[in-house]
Amino acid sequence: MIVYSLILASIVAVRGEFIALALPFVMYLLAGFLRAPDDVKLEAARHLSTERAAPGSDVVVTVTVTNRGSHLEEVLLEDILPPDLTIRVGLSRHLVRFAKGASYTFSYTVSGPRGGYGFESVEATIKDRLAVTSRKVRLEAKGQLFVFPPVTRLRHVAIRPRRTRVYAGMIPARVGGAGTEFFGVREYQPGDPPHSINWRASARHEELLFSNEFQQERVADVGIVLDGRLRTNQFTRGHSLFEYSVLAAAALADALLTQGNRVGMLVYASFLRWTFPGYGRVQRERILYALAHAKPGGSEVFSDLEHMPTRLFPPESQIILVSPLHEDDLSPLVQLRAQGYQVMVVSPNPVQFELSYLPKTQTVELAGRVVRMERMLLLQKIQRAGIQVLDWDVNEPFDLLVKRKLSRPPAWLRAVGG
């Protein structure tokens, strides 16, 4: 614009001095344009020190950019970070000069909260020697980082589903056979080991012998439902119970898989994310991947538990719902129980949680008492429907709660036989 204006002024005023004024600018433009890079062939490669990390732990990202084209005088490389990841050491932006065939490697350290992060590309802004021309290119350099939720080790989770699978495991199967827990007494059968004879019962009958029978222990089908609805997880000032729910779900899934059970997971939030049931370490990884991606969300369809697809779970299997609970959840839970499922609710206590963030005034205390009573009433109603409830004050470590409440099935459950 400046050059054009000066030339125009020169013509209008019939004065050559304006042209003289424009000449340094013309020289500048020409020098920049003539030496502009014509052949841009950059390639990028990425390496992560680990693809699976714990929340807040350091991951080193190493990016190598190679110039396969002509010499580039000034290249601004900027690695585009996924949102929520923060750089702890180093920089993701570098200004470099690339000779033909040269490579440049830079590293930086990131950390982030639970989640799945995809690295896509490195942005390169290429300028000529005087920055007259500028070109932006995106160099594909994919990478994935999963920050898994922390997994609390639980020693034993006692569940009593109505139906078990055929394989040996740790869940009492309500069927007599080889096991450790006493199940009953039956008439002696040839082939029964002598130490299984119940001498006390046999002494009461002159011609009959009786043997002790033990309860078979097998594996079971377990479906874990993680409640990610905003209405149950989101509280004032952005505080959320969801991370605690994720922590509980991860710990339960890990413990139940370690016991040999077949475990599936349903994340119930703005949409349904179903992890098919499976066994062992591979399934543990699948569930942790699902939990890494789990986010709370709101939706009209899934605002209550009415639309939970119960057919995903095998009949009479164990369902564990991890949810802070809402008063509308009573009816769907009772329905679930009526369909024959053994239901357990692990409920991070929202009342205690929210009260810890509120000022301790008389009004808040009074409101807290009312809400606490409402919750207690809801939990009692759920328990009366034959559903096991773990009311979890999140200030207490989850493993302690499980040790206290789930190391063996509750007496009432054993008495009624589930």
Binding site: I2, L6, L29, F33, R93, V96
Partner: protein
Amino acid sequence: MGLRDEVNVTVVAFVLSVLLGIGSLVIGYSQAGFADPVRWFVVLGFLWLAAHWQRWHWFSPVALLLAVAAAAYGVWKEFRTVWMILGALGGLLGWDLFDFARRLRYAAPTDDIRGMERRHLERVAVVVILGLVLALLSVYVRIQRLAFEVAVGLILLAALGLTRLVIGLRKY
């Protein structure tokens, strides 16, 4: 050596460029007896320097436009052309180094900042000196027999070349 020390070379060159540009305009206008604009040039110079430290990136192109406009006005008013050319040249240098210093801020401390600065300053110096020599030659070397029509033709040819240049630039 830290990033700040290495950037200093460019900053010093930027300050000298602003001084050259503003100083030349001040001298040129003062010699012609125009005292009022001189004060505004000084203010412009201070603002330009402040813009660097305050990171007002928008200010540098404005300052360049003002400097060139002032030089063009001086040429029109028949002030000494040398000072006006030096004023515009200082503006161009100041604008370039302001932008270069901004780009250097993106560099990591481990990058070869000193080498980049050295090479950039060398190139800019060569281009500016060539531009200055060419401009001075065009002022002082007169071809007496060149008809006005021929001059206009050459100007149009230059305009055409510049248009081609701009079209080429737009590809980037």
